[in-house]
Symmetry: C2
Subunit: 415 residues, 2 copies
């Protein structure tokens, strides 16, 4: 089994070719670069049966990942997350084959671990030493953790209202944290400028923003490989994915194309359904207007921090996957997604991020509207742990004051 | 491969025998009950080679677990946590073969998930419907989650100063939460009384406190099975485990005995090292005084909530494992364990619970004192995620105020 069969990078917009194994950001034309592999060779040398008993992390798919040397891999146990059957939620909302892929069990509590495990491994391989990222939360935590594990320097730029969990994680992991009195787009601009001014110098900052950097998506695509393996190589009827940047969905779509070329799956594709919040829904608007790209969403606001992306860089690729799969894009309100989160916790024991919960709310509506059928096999990705969103959930569960009693118990003083 | 080979329960103190598969608490003599298996039959029918490609959770060891029917199993993906090589911490403290078993990646962010997955599965099998627990934190979260997944009723009694993460989790999972203006021992007394007064009635409360209930330890012992499998069936030279109740260590010790009877491992045992906090060290005191049991630790106080157990029910069994293995018991200060936690995060990308971090601090001291050798293979269990202890870590990382700058960045206002 080869360590990797990557051949080159290719611009997703203009198809220009780039050397693999060098530190690139976007194409000259502004398009995100994607890694290409010698899939014919992989097909011959890497049968899916060889996975049995292999590594218990996303690195079991190493031949279809870009890292050349096993020693470069920086792993904290990311991937191989459980696919959980629902016992009550599915039946209540009329989706009788609803399963949840629980990405909250990744290191740093979110799917972001996959992308950054892959990207940081490539940094180790390419000799990149200093990394910078704008992030509303979980990507910052994951970058900080993997940079710490690799001994690299990480610079984080976060909106000042970032959840406490992400702030503390980044600080504990030893990252250089700057709180910005603005939006993630402001953070992105600051990172971009700093990278430009240090370029070519020793200690230059490398922008590791998703899709501006071509390897994070390779880690994220393993969500697709794993799902196929867990479902015995038959993809489901529909996948609901919370689309902030949308790269998780783009990555899975890429994985499906690769796996078909490997002979691992048929040409059957699930409906890819992008879920957003009503307070920030550029992909939904573009989908409904029939345009290829999205427009900046003014006044972006939602409790689901990961969905607060007003103009995702991967909008075109996300919309492509949605349309080619006969899926759709749908927005749910903050109230509905928080309600769905609390019901998912109390009915299934899964304490989901609001982003993941939004997909459960969306499933309920799409079943009601007939877009999804009661017997469809439906997979919802919970992209992170509810533990990262204590502030959001706390609003619903105020701490009982001394002497008071709520209907679920209360505070008592023992004799 | 049989689903289970359990035969009976046996009192760990007086060896009295009890029927397997019924809902028991302690023996009449006050001793905790342990599950026994037909290990000879298992040895014949369950070779370790059959594990390859098996279930990706602790339920891969189902034949050595007590559940009779696969349909009873309530699983959220617990177990199969990564064993992480340290790159910098080990070398810095002079332990060159230090690995971390990261239990923080379990559902609900701690090793407690293992015990409660097993115990709740047995409740489903035995028809127990209402559960109660006194808990300082993570056991409550795990009980709440698994009870929700099984559709059972959970009553939680927590000290009023319990971390916010645990409080919110329990509420979101739909448990009945009572905050008690007292210690965990007060909570335990309240639960005990309520169970006594409802016994025999419909909706009787079942006390699912660890070791008072005989199946949680069976889930916890899978930490031992997994470690052996991950180390290719050769146990390490030393295991450091944060001992609050101590049941994780007792469970592993039981697993080692079982695995030797199965022919899976040799008679080699690691030094079992129980780590406590200086503010609550009943096991350390008993170890040093040479007594078989511990005495109640007055004024228990430590930031590591899981170590705040003034008189563990499993003290005798913990001390037995420590002594039979030529291990030791050692206490570290809150300052040292928090320092170790922050260094582990920044050096390895592992954001550990203070309990897990205490074992790294202890390793450093035991290497310095010569009790552990630089080339020993040392396994530290990080029992939970640092995310559950944001209040504790926040003290070290105050949020930067507007306009201020700390040495790792600061808050800036973009133009």
């Amino acid at each position: 089994m080869p360590q990797t069969c990557k051949t080159h990078l290719e611009c997703s917009l203009c198809s220009k070719i780039f050397d693999a194994g060098r530190a690139w950001n976007l194409c000259d034309c502004g398009g995100p670069l994607l890694v290409r592999y010698d899939l014919a060779r992989l097909r011959a040398e890497w049968p899916r049966e060889s996975l049995t008993g292999a590594v218990n992390s996303m690195w079991r798919y190493a031949p279809a990942l870009p890292v050349s040397h096993p020693n470069s891999i920086v792993s904290l146990g990311e991937g191989m997350t459980p696919l959980l059957t629902t016992r009550r939620t599915g039946n209540r909302i009329g989706a009788h084959n609803l399963v949840i892929k629980d990405e909250g069990l990744n290191p740093t509590g979110s799917f972001k671990a996959r992308g950054l495990s892959c990207a940081i491994s490539m940094c180790v391989e390419m000799g990149v030493k200093v990394l910078a990222i704008p992030s509303a939360g979980n990507a910052a935590s994951a970058l900080s953790a993997y940079a710490a594990a690799a001994g690299l320097e990480a610079h984080i730029f976060m909106p000042a209202d970032v959840p406490q969990a992400n702030f503390i994680e980044c600080k504990a992991y030893g990252a250089h944290v700057t709180l910005v009195d603005g939006l993630i787009s402001d953070c992105g601009r600051i990172v971009g400028e700093k990278c430009k001014t240090t370029a070519g110098q020793p200690g230059a900052w490398f922008d590791i923003s998703t899709l501006k950097e071509p390897y994070r998506i390779e880690g994220k695509k393993t969500m697709g490989y794993e799902l196929a393996e867990q479902l015995n190589w038959i993809l489901p009827d529909a996948i609901l994915y919370p689309a902030g940047g949308g790269v998780g969905m783009i990555g899975m779509w890429k994985a499906f194309v690769e796996m078909e070329a490997l002979g691992w799956i048929s040409s059957k594709r699930p409906k890819m359904i992008a879920v957003q919040a009503t307070g920030c829904q550029p992909i939904v608007r573009a989908f409904e207007e029939g345009t290829e790209a999205s427009r900046f969403w003014d006044g972006a606001s939602t409790v689901a921090a990961g969905l607060r992306v007003p103009k995702p860089l991967g909008d075109r690729l996300t919309l492509q996957a949605v349309r080619e799969s006969a899926g759709c894009a749908i927005a749910v309100s903050d109230r509905d997604l928080m309600d769905a989160g609390i019901r998912l916790a109390s009915e299934e024991g899964i304490f989901a991020a609001p982003e993941g919960a939004s997909c459960v709310a969306a499933t309920e509506r799409l079943i009601r509207e007939g877009f999804l059928k009661p017997d469809d096999q439906i997979v919802v990705y919970n992209t992170g742990s509810g533990l990262k969103y204590l502030e959001a959930y706390s609003v619903r569960f105020p701490r009982t004051a001394a002497g008071q009693t709520d209907k679920l118990g209360g505070l008592i003083t023992p004799r």
